[in-house]
Amino acid sequence: MASWRWFHQLGSPKWFYQKSASWLPWLWVATAILFAFGLYYSLWNSPVDYQQGNSVRIMYIHVPVAALSMIGYLAMAICAIIGLVWKMKMAFMVTRAIAPVGAAMTFLALFTGSMWGIPTWGTWWEWDARLTSELLLLFLYLGFIALHSSFADRSKADRSAAVLAIVGAINVPIIYGSVKWWNTLHQAYSVTKRGAIDPQMQTPLFIMIGAFYLLFAILVIVRLRLEIMSREGKSQWLQAEVLANRSVGVKS
């Protein structure tokens, strides 16, 4: 029983709201340090690609955001299942918190991918399998956000959007598989294959991946806190919390 405590605690908006306030500064510091190291290595202290030159450095942003765009959707779907099965409101709030952050990551992945395309493909858009899947993933995120914002009743919005997130997550591998197959069908269009990665590029890439993961976590936590505030606005603990913070702010 005791081992499930964390699960119940995470399910309590009050517990999360109070605890996360103390996590955030540490997370910000850790993220700043990782970004400082990561950017230094990836922009200055890493080898230039013999084919792509300096443009390979886009990878240090592209790869982390692309990974996060997919993990974000998966996380959303898992929270959706938890919300629907255990009727946990907090899980629904997390899906709502992740959606725009995940969509932003997907957009960044598309943007950096296109930028990378200009020197390597000679055009900012190529119907490359990964880029195309990423575009469809962005549509899935937008569908979720559009559905969630179309309800007057929040509980209906939560549950409906959760169903869509699960259906979308089941479809992601199918979409990716078919787009990949479709892409090989039109081989003529795909220009470059991005080869295996140089070990010297690995370290800065891992640091950047860590940095972006932390940034993602921070953004989700901040959005989740806002979500809690908007939903639990009437509850006593939150009003007390906000008042306490305000008086601190006045003193300092």
């Binding site: 009727k87 509980s155 509850s235 006593q236 603990w237 009003q239």
Partner: protein, 218 residues
């Protein structure tokens, strides 16, 4: 617990909310077999929400509803067979005839609404000449009467009726009251809402719903 005590509909620790507004909090309700319950209260106090929650349409925030001792979702409870819920909207298809509409709902329960049965209830409600007409061609009062026919045609053990007396003429009101009392006398459970008091209807239980004060929750 004796056998008879568990018959009927029971709600234990029910919490219902609508659009983040708590309507009922940890409420126990008991609707015994053979009784008629009148739910009343101002608009917005959650009468309809309570009915929909008891019927299993609106998810409960907490608590559970039992039918004859079993949770309503339990197959042994046979709740879907026993429940007849008439909502504010009449749930009749405009493109179908009265007969088709009524026969479909009986068929969905695995029962058959025979022509003679249809005719006899239609006779009582003065709509026997309309049976082959499309639902859309009827007046509002007639449409309402058609939906009331379901009470007579479908064999159920629990009636949940949302404002069944609204816009009824005196004769139909009496007919409905007598149907409800007959149904209760044969062991059925009736739960209904009404703004007005119904003359001649013997009510066993009255439940009044009030606005929840805007108390802060935690």
């Amino acid at each position: 617990m004796s056998e008879t005590a568990s018959f009927g509909l029971k709600g234990r620790g029910i919490t219902i909310s609508r659009s983040e507004q708590i309507l009922l909090e940890h409420v126990d309700l008991n609707f015994k077999a053979g009784t008629i319950t009148h739910l009343f209260g101002e608009n917005g106090t959650g009468k309809t929400s309570l009915m929909r929650a008891l019927a299993g349409l609106l998810p409960l925030d907490s608590g559970s509803v039992f039918w004859n001792g079993y949770e309503t979702s339990h197959p042994e409870a046979n709740f879907t067979q026993d429940l007849l819920f008439l909502a504010h909207n009449l749930a009749m298809k405009h493109e179908l005839s009265i007969t088709e509409n009524l026969q479909f709902y009986s068929a969905l329960r695995g029962q058959k609404a025979s022509k003679s049965k249809l005719l006899s209830v239609a006779n009582e409600l003065d709509i026997e000449t309309l049976l082959d007409r499309h639902f859309a061609e009827l007046s509002a009062g007639q449409q309402h009467k058609v939906s009331l026919c379901r009470l007579f045609l479908e064999k159920a053990k629990l009636w949940i009726l949302d404002e069944p007396f609204v816009n009824l003429d005196a004769r139909t009101r009496d007919w409905l009251s007598s149907q409800m009392m007959q149904f209760a006398a044969s062991g059925g459970v009736v739960i209904f809402t009404s703004h007005q008091a119904i003359e001649g209807l013997k009510i066993h239980q009255q439940i009044s719903l009030a606005h929840q004060t805007d108390e802060v929750l935690d």
